[in-house]
Amino acid sequence: MNYRKLVTIIDETVTEGGRPVEPVARVVIVAAVIDNPWAGEGFVEDLNPGIDKVASAVGELLAPRVIEALGAPLEAYGKAAIVGLDGEIEHGSALIHTLKFGNHFRDAANATTLLPAVEKRGPAGVQFDIPLKHFTDATIRSHHQSVEVKIADAPHPDEILIALAGATRGRPQERLAPLSTEQ
């Protein structure tokens, strides 16, 4: 899988709200900056050939790196596709909204739920938030969280930035009543 750069971010929150976070909340983001497979081709009606060429390979590249950098069992996860200005948002969606991409992450993490996602188009250095939810039950409220990412020189207009995010636990000081208490 060719990429221009691969960025890993490991964020550990030790204190939140003035109190220690135990265990420390670790969130990992791994992002690959790749060529938009449909760059310069105008409106492509059938995206499947490009999806087949790229989606599985990107998932295979990113998923094990998230698990390795987490260094502890994954409990929440999410994904992102940020398309450069010359592309369509549909191009990013095409690469991440397929089982060919997501199953690499689900299998590596022993997860079962669909991955929450952000898809957007923007200039290099655009800031985006990746939503994360619980890896086996997306209704578990303690694990709803987001991480902020910005990569200074990506995506170029003809590139797509694809990212996976994983967390070792729910929010640092999560203390909301579960969804079931309101039903």
Partner: protein
């Protein structure tokens, strides 16, 4: 917000300790809120990957509420070595050891309730710089960026060669985004390093430069 910071009660030996996964008592003593790492890998045909990394610690400003006459040395000597250890551990882990590191740099951003001098106190003394240099196997002075800022800043951290600062191929900067730091009462302290030069360095060096003075302005060809 920061009331849990403990008064020092004992001496600890960090010299042989890897702090990667166990720093709860340390974090309480210096008001560590978060610690983060970024690792950027750029494939390169000749050099393999060039990997550049940052390590950031966000701590409570230990001098909040003190005036410009306040002596900074005592807290600097206690906190800066701890930060150097925490951050260099993470850079070494990310880049595979000091033997792989060719360039380095550092940074500190103080939140709006602090003084720029507070940021400097944590990185511009031997209590930080000497330890970081030793851990990364360097001899050069560390280049840096510092400032006072609100949370959400994107820094450009300068790096240069760790044993030969004038080596032009290794002049480079590394971008770092800090989404929620430093808060007004915090300081973000950063160490950064690279396993290589700029990807396609080709602007010569001091050894290849010809003599250039303002005389050259007389004969610029446009």
């Amino acid at each position: 917000m920061n009331s849990f910071i403990a008064e020092p009660t004992s001496l600890v030996d960090l010299s042989s300790r890897t702090t990667l996964d166990d720093y709860s008592e340390i974090s309480a003593s210096i008001g560590l809120r978060k610690i983060s790492r970024t690792v950027e890998e750029t494939p390169h045909e000749q050099l393999g990957n060039i990997t550049r990394a940052t390590a950031t610690a966000v701590i409570t400003n230990p001098w909040l509420g003190t005036g410009t006459g306040h002596e900074l040395a005592e807290r600097t000597e206690a906190i800066a070595p701890l930060l150097a250890k925490l951050l260099s551990d993470r850079l070494l882990d990310a880049l595979g050891g000091a033997g792989n590191i060719e360039a380095f740099g550092k940074a500190a951003l103080v939140g709006l309730d602090g003084e720029i001098e507070h940021a400097g106190a944590l990185i511009h003394t031997p209590f930080f710089g000497n330890l970081l240099r030793e851990a990364l196997g360097g001899t050069s002075i560390l280049c840096f960026v510092d400032g006072r800022a609100t949370a959400g800043e994107t820094l450009r951290i300068p790096l240069w060669h760790k044993t030969a600062a004038a080596t032009r191929t290794h002049y480079q900067s590394l971008e770092l985004f800090l989404p929620d730091a430093p808060q007004a009462g915090e300081i973000a302290v950063i160490a950064a390093a690279s396993t290589g030069p700029r990807p396609h360095a080709r602007i010569g060096d001091r050894t290849t430069d010809r003599q250039v003075t303002s005389e050259i302005l007389k004969g610029i060809a446009l």
